[in-house]
């Protein structure tokens, strides 16, 4: 500025007006705070019914391979009173007759993870097998359960029960998404799964894809409620701070740009279980490749952690690039405790 100097005979403008204008603009912007990024973190879509084939995009690779009789719709009540929706997909038990047609999908009511009396009486599996694993699937920032149903099918094919739920504001779930709401929803999901008599508590696996890695890591970092079997993060994000740093080339706290306390870098050293980070080496959506490497570095020396980079995979095509068989083999091997 000031590249041209004023000559001595110039008239002097009144600076007070300009200063006042600047102060007013600054004041307004301070109150508006219009650029918080939380609204950009979530990209939900609403549905009136789940798992309608007409709503499924071909890029989601949904195959509808799970018999309806094994899919249990679930309604949870979050701490703020909003209802959130999910599905518990179980492995066939002895006597099950897969693919026997449509079963009524009336939701089972749960409040803060405590099953209602009717749900209690509906349970038929009292002694779950010791080698039966249950995955709590924390999905990404876009769409709703429909978009992730293909992933549920893969985990089910790998031999796991799967519980998937929509965060508040996603799919049919009430409310609007936020960092705190997502964490509360994840807590409710865990409480629900723990309350099921057909789930072995020590065989619960937390799985998080992309944004869902924050919720999975949140659950795994607090082992006072439950000690999980393991944690699996697929193309995880390190933190909102890492996103900001990546874009700005500067060390900027995540709280500067988002209210959500999304910080896996801080949480991962406190994870109390074996952890697998599986990531695409061509993922440049939000540069989670580097995010994954940041998390691996943060966790080294604190927790037993395994990195599994996948050549040519990007953010959303990891199972497709690996091949379904290999993806399922890697995930199930890690869950069981075998070498990958």
């Amino acid at each position: 500025m000031n590249s041209v100097r004023r000559s001595p005979k110039s008239k002097v403008p009144n600076p007070k007006f300009g200063i006042c204008v600047i102060c007013v603009i600054c004041g307004l912007l301070l109150f508006v705070s219009c650029f918080r990024l939380d609204s950009f973190l979530f990209e939900p879509t609403r549905v009136t019914d789940y798992l309608n084939p007409a709503d499924m995009d071909s890029s989601w690779h949904v195959r509808f391979i799970i018999p309806d009789s094994l899919i249990e719709p679930v309604t949870l009540t979050a701490l703020d009173g909003n209802h959130i929706y999910g599905f518990f997909v179980r492995q066939p038990a002895e006597g099950d007759c897969p693919r026997t047609g449509t079963v009524p999908r009336s939701p089972t009511d749960y409040t803060d993870g405590v099953r209602s009396q009717s749900a209690e009486s509906a349970k038929s599996v009292d002694n779950p097998p010791e080698n039966q694993f249950t995955v709590i699937y924390n999905h990404g920032n876009g769409q709703n359960i429909n978009r992730y149903w293909g992933r549920v099918e893969l985990l089910w094919e790998a031999g796991c029960n799967v519980f998937i739920y929509d965060y508040e504001g996603f799919g049919k779930s009430e409310g609007s998404p936020s960092g705190n709401a997502c964490y509360a929803d994840a807590d409710a999901a865990l409480a629900y799964v723990l309350a099921r008599p057909d789930v072995v508590d020590s065989n619960i696996v937390y799985y998080g894809w992309s944004l869902g890695s924050f919720m999975a890591c949140h659950l795994a970092a607090d082992d006072t409620i439950s000690k999980p079997r393991c944690l699996i993060l697929e193309n995880p994000m390190a933190s909102t701070s890492a996103l900001a740093k990546e874009g700005a080339v500067l060390a900027i706290p995540g709280s500067f740009v988002a209210d959500a306390d999304f910080d896996n870098e801080a949480r991962i050293p406190f994870v109390g279980c074996r952890t697998l980070i599986i990531y695409g080496k061509k993922d440049d959506t939000a540069v989670p490749r580097r995010n994954a490497e940041v998390l691996l570095a943060e966790a080294q020396g604190w927790i037993p952690i395994t990195g599994y980079p996948v050549e040519n995979a990007s953010h959303s095509d990891l199972p497709e690039v690996m091949g379904y068989d290999k993806y399922e083999r890697v995930v199930s091997a890690f869950i069981v405790g075998d070498s990958l």
Binding site: V4, L29, L37, N141, F256, T285
Partner: protein
């Protein structure tokens, strides 16, 4: 999902400007003793925002005061940082140790700090050092070049540079405009990065443009 992430990532990138001397260069030429200047500038690196390539509109308002004919002080407010709910300010000191004589340009250094403060939260402080050389071309034009640098100690790169060239035009006696082209973070690869900077040079950094308006007032000579 990618589209939203692009927007998500582009917005924090304005902070690159906050630390690398957002706005136009603070003090291209020295003020006279007792003279004041008020400047407003807007602009930043060109990035792809929802399919459109635009200079990110980082706005800064800055006040300068001439301590003597060589030294001055300044303080500025970052308007877009306020949009994030942050108080963004910068302040510092300028000293011009060479005056234009023949082929020798006016040369100065500007040292300062940019502070981003979140009320009730954290803060980020970035020390900065700028060097600028300028030539006056007649009564109305000035051309200048130099480099800005910002320092950080807990994240690489530890020094973020922004070389620049610019020109100033005196519109009327107290009022002037200037336009700068900057190459932000030239030591850093442009891709892969979660911001789609549109104008890298040799796949490094991001080119941007900043427009400034300046008013001069006060001083002993009046």
């Amino acid at each position: 999902m990618k589209h939203k992430f692009l927007i998500l990532a582009v917005l924090p990138a304005v902070f690159l400007l906050a630390a690398v001397r957002c706005g136009t260069v603070t003090a291209v030429t020295p003020l006279r003793r007792g003279e004041s200047a008020l400047a407003i500038s807007v602009g930043g690196p060109v990035a792809d925002v929802a399919g459109t390539n635009i200079p990110l509109p980082y706005a800064v308002a800055r006040y300068r005061y001439g301590l003597n004919d060589q030294a001055g002080i300044y303080v500025g407010g970052h308007l877009l940082a306020a949009g994030f709910g942050l108080a963004g300010i910068d302040f510092g000191f300028s000293y011009h140790f060479l005056q234009q004589q023949g082929w020798v340009p006016t040369v100065g250094a500007i040292a300062g700090i940019t502070a981003l403060i979140q009320p009730g939260g954290g803060e980020a402080l970035f020390p900065q050092l700028d060097l600028v050389a300028s030539y006056r071309l007649g009564d109305r034009f000035t051309t200048y070049f130099g480099s800005q640098s910002v320092y950080q100690f807990q994240y690489r790169p530890n020094v973020v540079l922004a070389p620049f060239v610019g020109g100033g035009f005196k519109v009327s006696d107290p009022f002037s405009l200037n336009l700068e082209a900057k190459w932000y973070a030239p030591t850093e690869k442009t891709h892969p990065r979660n911001v789609n900077y549109s104008l890298p040079i040799a796949e490094h950094g991001a080119v941007g443009f900043v427009l400034g308006a300046n008013w001069l007032f006060g001083g002993n000579h009046e």
